[in-house]
């Protein structure tokens, strides 16, 4: 948090005008320009953006939405809230944790209203091919506020895209999100439903903070890419570790997290425990497979071998823009020791 961030928030608070107004409008305009799309609708969270996106393309009772199982549960929960059915799809595998286009294609039915492409870890999914399959493409870009693939910005490719500004995201404000689209009707529907049955609005202080932090996002992402490249070269010498994606993909990724996949799934729990207990290094799991959660596994059952494998063997290593090389070396050394 920099001084200019605090000043931006303080100025809004002192103005006494807190409800969405000028700051929100400016943030929407600036984020839309950043993506190169016509419309941006700032909302209370990435989850809110997903609900509005699905709703705006018409998802309702009886509709199916194909959603990769390696994602945050909200990508699917929002479908259920609209009365729709999430149809879980498999991911490519340990080398690419994005959704498998072939698996998505195989799951399309006459009831499929939308496909959710999750840009896992900041690495854009294959939206070019997914967009050709027919159903409306919704991009879950919670991890990728600044990423591209094939020269196209993540979040500028589908019917609508959804961003998150949750506290652990690349661009963070606490609780916040945004829907982006080129489609006038989608934008109008989203704006209307933002204050419909639910209140999915954000406010001036958060918009002011986002504007201020967004100015440094490109530098932060550049630092993340450099750290990721260094991680990859260090991890190349650690046996038993699969590092997904390629060096070329890193160069255009948001590098939200540093995901690895262990060759031996049985090592996932002991490795994470040892890193935490012996070295104080906190890792995460992105993600348990959504179709295996209690709320989904019977009602929306699926058999997804790659997603299940990734869920059991994935470890997310610490990564943040101001991480030092010493910290990185410690993480890799601890990981090598644990393996």
């Amino acid at each position: 948090m920099e001084e200019e961030d605090l000043e931006a928030v303080a100025a809004v608070l002192r103005s006494g005008r807190l409800r969405a107004g000028e700051q929100v409008a400016l943030f929407e305009r600036e984020f839309a320009a950043h993506l190169g799309v016509a419309h941006a609708v700032a909302v209370s969270s990435g989850t809110s953006a997903l609900q509005l996106a699905y709703q705006a393309v018409g998802v309702g009772p009886g509709d199916e939405v194909i959603v990769p199982s390696i994602t945050f549960a909200a990508s699917a929960a929002t479908v259920v809230h609209l009365g729709g059915t999430p149809v879980f799809a498999d991911v490519c595998g340990p080398h690419d944790i994005g959704v498998s286009v072939d698996d998505v294609a195989a799951r399309i039915t006459p009831r499929t209203k939308a496909i959710c492409a999750v840009h896992y870890g900041g690495y854009p999914a294959d939206v070019a091919r997914l967009g050709e399959l027919g159903p409306a493409l919704i991009e879950d870009a919670a991890h990728s506020p600044d990423a591209s693939r094939g020269g196209r910005m993540a979040g500028a490719c589908g019917a609508a895209s959804c961003f998150s500004f949750f506290s652990n995201k690349v661009l963070a404000v606490g609780e916040g999100g945004l829907l982006a689209t080129d489609d006038d009707d989608v934008a109008e529907r989203a704006r209307g439903e933002r204050s419909g049955a639910y209140n999915l609005r954000t406010d001036e202080p958060r918009a002011a903070l986002l504007r201020s932090r967004m100015a440094r996002m490109a530098d932060d992402v550049a630092a993340r890419r450099a750290l990721t490249a260094r991680y990859r070269s260090l991890l190349a010498d650690v046996p038993g570790v699969i590092v997904p994606y390629t060096d070329a993909e890193v160069a255009t990724s948001s590098c939200y997290v540093m995901p690895i996949v262990l060759s031996d799934a049985a090592r996932q729990a002991p490795v994470r425990a040892q890193l935490r207990e012996r070295h104080g290094i906190q890792t995460s799991l992105l993600y348990p497979a959504v179709h295996e959660f209690t709320a989904y596994r019977e009602r929306f059952a699926a058999s997804l071998p790659q997603a299940e494998r990734v869920a059991r063997s994935q470890v997310t290593l610490p990564l943040f823009g101001f991480m030092t090389h010493e910290q990185q070396d410690r993480v890799v050394a601890a990981l090598a020791e644990a393996l």
Binding site: M1, D5, L6, V9, A10, L13, R14, G16, R17, L18, R19, S44, S45, G46, T47, S48, F72, A73, A74, A77, V80, H81, F166, S167, A172, V173, G174, E175, G196, A197, Y198, N199, R201, T202, D203, E204, P205, R206, L209, A266, Q268, A269, R272, A273, R276, T283, S284, L285, P288, V290, F293, T294, A295, Y296, R312
Partner: protein, 281 residues
């Protein structure tokens, strides 16, 4: 907004801890004490509190007041329940399994003595001494309320099960902690229901705590004026430079003293005298 309020928010931002932290817990404890309830669960808006209250009560048929019951009706429908329209001071529908009482437009509504759970919509009623008559009360900290965060809200209750359910549903129905030990996962979580993101964040909770410390008596945050022709009234007010919007209740109100209970709602801080002049011009 006092400078101490601004500093509280900046402190939260400087701490680097923006969500799910100590300031939310502190605000919840303070707000529960302020209302006199056992539990407070801070959420993203008063509307969110209403939605979660409806889900926590989990009744299939919910009586909703025709005047001021819009958010409750939307929440019941979103939950898949049936809305039974009710026109106080008439008796609530006898087949209602739960009741929402709305203390709308800065007034205290009568809470009927019923056997079924009552949810109090207190979004416009902070400081009026209400919110202790039902199983849960819903509060709003929107801009213009006596305690204002921009967007924010809270649910208060004495019922531990309701509090736990609302806490779960506001954060995606995620349970933390060890899950399914035989899978060998550690530090993982389960998702046990279809939840929402209705969380409040640390900076706004800090603002809430700071404002709560100097909260004085309530002031009405929405002025409601009955008119015959809503559209003409709103137009007249707009021409006079006064912010207003028309409001039509959910259903005709046979018990209303006036022939028509159509209302014009003024923005917070609007001058009633100026309004009266504009409407009579």
């Amino acid at each position: 907004m006092r400078e101490s309020d601004v500093e509280a928010v900046l402190d939260a931002l400087r701490s680097g801890w923006l969500t799910m932290g100590p300031r939310i817990q502190a605000f919840e404890a303070q707000f529960a004490a302020h209302v006199g309830a056992a539990h407070a669960v801070a959420v993203s808006s008063g509307t969110a509190a209403v939605h979660l209250a409806v889900r926590a009560v989990a009744a299939s048929r919910v009586a909703v007041p025709a005047l001021g019951g819009d958010a409750a009706a939307a929440a019941v429908r979103a939950f898949g329940g049936e809305v039974l329209l009710w026109d106080p001071p008439a008796d609530p529908p006898p087949d209602a399994e739960a009741l929402v009482v709305a203390h709308a437009f800065g007034t205290r509504a009568q809470v009927p003595a019923v056997e079924v759970p009552v949810v109090e919509d207190c979004r416009a009623a902070l400081g009026l001494g209400v919110g202790r008559a039902g199983v849960a009360a819903c509060w709003s900290f929107a801009d213009g309320r006596p305690l204002a965060m921009g967007e924010g809200g809270c649910l208060t209750t004495d019922d531990e099960a309701i509090a736990a359910r609302v806490r779960l549903l506001r954060q995606h129905a995620m349970t933390s902690g060890t899950w399914d030990r035989h899978r060998g996962h550690s530090d993982s979580y389960d998702v046990v229901d279809i939840g929402f993101n209705f969380r409040l964040d640390e900076p706004r909770a800090a603002l809430g705590s700071s404002q709560l410390a100097h909260l004085t008596e309530a002031r009405s945050t929405v002025e409601a004026i009955r008119v015959d022709d809503v559209d003409a009234a709103v137009e007249a007010l707009r021409e006079a430079g006064i912010g207003a919007r028309g409001y039509t209740p959910l259903a005709p109100l046979p018990h209303a003293a006036e022939a028509a209970a159509r209302l014009v709602l003024l923005e917070p801080g609007a001058d009633r005298e100026a309004v009266a002049r504009a409407l009579c011009a």
